[in-house]
Amino acid sequence: MDTKTSKSINRPTGRCALLFALALAAATLMTRAANAADTGWTHYGNDAGNTHYSSLAQIKPDNIAHLHAAYAVSLGALRSNQSTPLVVGDTMYVTSSWGPKFVYALDAATGAIKWRYQSFVPENVIQFACCDVGNRGVSYRDGKVFVGQLDGKLVALDAKTGKPIWKTKVVDYKQGAVISSPPVIAGNKVITGFGGGDYGVRGYLSAYDADTGKLLWKTYTVPGPGEPGNETWKGDSWKHGGAASWVPGSYDPKLNIVYFGTSNPGPWEAGLRSTNTPDGKYVNLYSSSVVALNPDTGKILWYIQYTPDDAWDFDGVNESVLADLTIDGKKLPALMHADRNGFLYVANRKTGRLISAKPFVPVTWATGINLETGRPIEVPGMRPTLTHEAHVCPSMMGGKNWQPMSYNPGTGLVYIPALNLCVAEKEDKVEYHKGLMYVGINPFSLYTGPGGYNGELIAWNPITQAAAWSIHEPLWYLSGVLSTGGGLVFYGTLDGWFKAVDAKSGKLLWKFYTGSGVNAAPITYEVGGRQYIAVVSGRTVTMLSLLGKFAAPAAEKTAESGMLFVFALDQ
């Protein structure tokens, strides 16, 4: 533990049974129109609202001892396997890393391959994918499977045969712009962003006709000259302003609004694009934000900028979880978001009005969020500059990274795969060069946060904004999380374990060793009356290499891999 940071740690501590009971009483069911039967897993987050929750309850605490591997499938590509499979009917669609190199349709009960699509994405994409060659899976609509590729293309496949129906270039990947996440489907529109905030891209979201691949609209997330928000950029820094959306968005079909998080502004060296001071006027819209858009027109309806003039690579990309909460007796169409900046936000997803924001991990750079303005209350001295090395919690890895949390309407809790990392960092001069990283932080050194643990699964009550329970993990970069109607929470760790814990207490009930770090999000589904749990294993390489000696203990635990594991109760 670094004592320099301990005095200013700020997190609610009310982890008690009372809060849990309050959460139970307050929670209401999530809108699940898109997946009413809830036997499959038809969206990245199971539902368009990204809850990563399933009501399936055949597997539960009192029988999980009988949960065993039903089958395993090699995905044919090593490192950074981050795919969240989909299950539609009796077919599972899952991707490998490296492009994806492969998209598979499998018999969801046996693992038998129905078809395999090979993307032929060139290996040189690795230069342009900052944080490894991961792919997070596909989207599905009406007999078509949609996949975004690291070479900047969006492809529609025939769900029955795997044959390409159309292929559209979204972005020039050689500028450092890659697609690693599945698109959002809103009616007949396929909406995608791309990564590249660390390469100085100018982010945009674009929508394509699901039947033809024709471009329908394109909305820049960094406003150009003459557009509202351009004045929030110093000089012409907007040209390489980042704000790229590389994590899956969410969709509320009732409100007809899509929600995408945006990345850090480019470069990290804030002095090039702002005054790099708390409350400065150059806030760099719409970086490190969530933007709410009309999916029919691409018009930005509202935004919340989580980290104005982001000097820490906090991004705002983490998923927006859409669920209805009851607060003070009133029903709230909520958007929940655990930001890399360490705060968990609850907002009205119809209007963008902030309801609450509290730190869910140790936070030293801000003491709170002004709910009226949305601006963080910054702690002086926490911005790195060319002459000042700042010691900040959380680090650029965030209080939570891209791995999705899960909201369980039964317990009323969100289960957050959190990180407890801090950083010592200083700015360095940087110039833009196409295809090279555009960062400007040197040096940066990560260290373990207060308490001596690096990862934490937190069961968080979004209404009271306090933890119900948490599990400390020695390693960071936990996997995505699944919670179920059976009262279980599943997650994985960087040392290769896939675990199930009791959703109410956090008690460890079951674990399975996958042989490589687990970063992907698990799913569950039912075929033929039998409930299955599935997860992809295969740890990142780049993220461990990036962090050098700090990450060595994690790198030494397992090797890279690419395997799908599927579990079911003994018959």
Binding site: I126, S445, S545, L546, A552
Partner: protein
């Protein structure tokens, strides 16, 4: 017209000067110069290379572990790889961004890391 032999010698010395190969230094001056080059190289490394190869060349993975990757490579191999890149491996060309002297500083720094780690470099000019 310069005699061919003299031209060759001049080119060799010019090359050594540009790439700041440590063999060109001697005694206390050489140590000081090396020390300066190591520090310069470290700064350049962490600014430009650490995103893949880890802070202070600390990436453990064999794909990115430079001290090990370089151990059987000559100085010329290194300079060529940095200058022209290895696109299929994701290594961009740096010839328009880093000056030859800076690439030389990177080399001096990385050779010093090899030495620190007790790796038999087989450093060949």
């Amino acid at each position: 017209m310069m005699p061919r032999r003299l031209l060759l010698i001049s080119l060799i010395f010019a090359g050594l000067a540009i790439f700041r190969i440590p063999a060109t230094y001697a005694g206390a001056d050489a140590k000081a110069a090396d020390s300066h080059a190591i520090e310069q190289g470290r700064h350049l490394f962490n600014a430009n290379c650490a995103h893949c190869h880890g802070e202070d060349a600390g990436a453990e993975d064999p794909y990115y572990n430079l001290p090990q990757l370089l151990s059987d490579k000559s100085d010329k191999d290194f300079t060529t790889a940095v200058t022209n890149g290895i696109p299929d491996k994701g290594m961009p060309p740096w010839k328009t961004i880093l000056k030859p002297g800076q690439i030389g500083d990177l080399l001096v720094y990385l050779r010093s890391v090899e030495k620190e780690q007790g790796i038999d470099t087989g450093s060949q000019p």
